[in-house]
Every structure is written in structure tokens, then in C-alpha cells.
Symmetry: C2
Subunit: 202 residues, 2 copies
Amino acid sequence: MLESRKVFLVNAVLNYFSSLCPITSGFIQEIEKSVEPLLIKKNKYILSPIDNNDYVFFVVSGLVRGFIKDDNKEITTWISLGNEFIGAIQHPNENTQPSIEYLQALENSELVAIPHLLIDKLYASYQETNVIGRKILALQYHAASERAIIARIPSAERRYEKFLELNSFDVSRVPLRCIASYLGMRLETLSRIRSKLVRELV
Amino acid sequence: MLESRKVFLVNAVLNYFSSLCPITSGFIQEIEKSVEPLLIKKNKYILSPIDNNDYVFFVVSGLVRGFIKDDNKEITTWISLGNEFIGAIQHPNENTQPSIEYLQALENSELVAIPHLLIDKLYASYQETNVIGRKILALQYHAASERAIIARIPSAERRYEKFLELNSFDVSRVPLRCIASYLGMRLETLSRIRSKLVRELV
């Protein structure tokens, strides 16, 4: 990756932080020293259960999903189109363990990896980190709560309609098999629902 | 409620806060002045869509669930046995709106209601609130992520087994119809799975 692009990506994270709370020069220096800009090619894993769950990631561009394997089937647990923090599920009071979630780029994606160890250090040293952390966690908590609710809607058709309503992005970028497992339905069910909705629109 | 019990409940919240971060006397006074201890009788609503979503609640004792209504059916979205914060889903950057979730006591439950307005004031005035807030939100984010994952496991039997694994509490306190809708299965399916597991244990 070009050095100038690396600088751009790190600045994207810093801009995001400073939109949440003013940041100090010490905080900025720690970030610049310890985060890692990444370009992940389409379909490659960012994290898998062979890795320790040592980082959170800021997605600058691209398309990323989380998934688990159940009975060797891939179940999409979330989808991100960027400008937000993502990470594999991890209990805040437990030491780092291997991830149970896979993180995969569905398009070429630019991310910035931020080590949990750095975050802990920032929490201890720079007060603004606590403000930034709780604002990001409030967004993540809200998004996870929405994911938890949508999966429990009994009708497959209403689950898909809710998915369209909640996601203003161009959902055609997401492979149908990922949307189907995210919404807890078979691919054929999703295809049938999509055809029906198109027919109703005509 | 007896005055002494009210004091006990408010102290339970303060103890929880101080287990996360040392709290100052100004913070303690604001809490004592503005929170509201509540006793909610079994089956009564704590919050419903006719209410504005103005509070978060610390559950001291009892059993509380969140649910939504979909097509007039109640879908349980979470279950709490206490010693934690609960609330209806709300986007952190939006103004208070009517709740889309119902909060209901499934047993006589003791809670402490904390106004969002107070929390915003504490964030602005007492640094420790940001540490406490991000630690509570990290726990809530983790719990919501677990709820989002469990609902997407394709096999109903594995969903129920995962539910038992994640919840160390006595699940027999929770009505079966709540567990069934929480796990996205019909009551008959849940009963069949439970009978099968009992037979396998014999």
C-alpha cells in the first residue's frame, strides 16, 4: 500500500474519533504509532478462529461481514459497509482468546487495525478515550440489538422487508447467500420473496 | 415501598457503579437525588410503546424481559435476571421517542429507573461516568451480540442447547412461551426438544 494511502486511512480513523470528542496530541501520537492500515482483498479473511481476537477494526471502505460456522455452514452475523468499528464478539472482562467469529472482506476493503492493548492503554492515559469509547459502544450496542430483533421476526418476508428498511445502503452489493443466512432463511426462500416483491412493484 | 428498601435499591446501583470505577460525592448526590426505585408486580409492564423511552433501568431482583409485538404475537427479545442494566432499544443519536420494545416483569421485580437526561448530565459533569458508561455498554454490546448470534443458528435443538450453555441461571423460572419466541421456534418444537433432552439424560 502506498505510504500516502496509509496516512489517509489513519487520518480517517482520527477524523472519526475527533467527530466524537476533541482529541489531544498525545492520543494522536499513540494512534499514529500503533495502528495498522490494511488492504484486504475480496473474499480474504481479516480474522478467523485460528487468530487471537487481538484487534478491533475501523472499516474505511469496502464491504465486510462477520460469520460463524455451524455444522460447517456459514451463518452471516453482521454486514458492514464502512465508516464504523467492527470486531469479533468478545467478552469485555475476559482475556483475549481465539475468535469464534470469522471476519471476511466481501469486496476489496481498507481497514485500520487497532490493538485491544492500545485501547486499554489509551483508556488509562487519555480521558477523551472514555468518551469516544462509550459513544462507539453505544452505536455498536444499538446495531447489535437491531440484529438480535430482526432475526426473531417470525415471517421471513417481514424479516427481509425490515432488512431493507434498516439498511439504506445498496444491498445488491451483498451476496444473496450472505443475506439469506443473516436473515435465517434458505436461499430459495429469499429468492422467492425477492421475486414476489418485484412483481408487486410492477 | 419502605423507605429503607428504597435506600437499599439506590445503594445497589451505587455499589454496582463503584465496582466499575471510583465515584465522587457529587456523582453520588446526583444519583440519590434523581433516580427512582420501583417495585413492579409480576406480569406488569415497566415500559410499553405508549411511553417515551426516557429511562434505563438497573434490575436489582426479579425477572424481566423485553419483547416486541409482531403481527400481534409477542416476540421475546431478551431476558434479565438482574444485577444489570436494561432498557428498550434506542439509537444513541436520536431524541427520545416512544419505545418500540415492551419491558415486562415476569416475577415481582425491584428496579431503579435512571433518566437519560440525568445520564447526559453526569457524562458532562463527572469524568467517572464515561468510564462507567463504556464498561456497561461493553457488557450490553456483548450480550446483544450473543442474542444476535444465537437466533441465527439454523437448528432449533442447537439454539436451545446454546441458550442453556449461555445462561447459568435457573431457566425454569422463565415461561416456556418466552423461551420459545426468544429462540425463534414454536412452543411445540421447544417442548419436543426438551422432552428429547430429558430422555437422553435418563
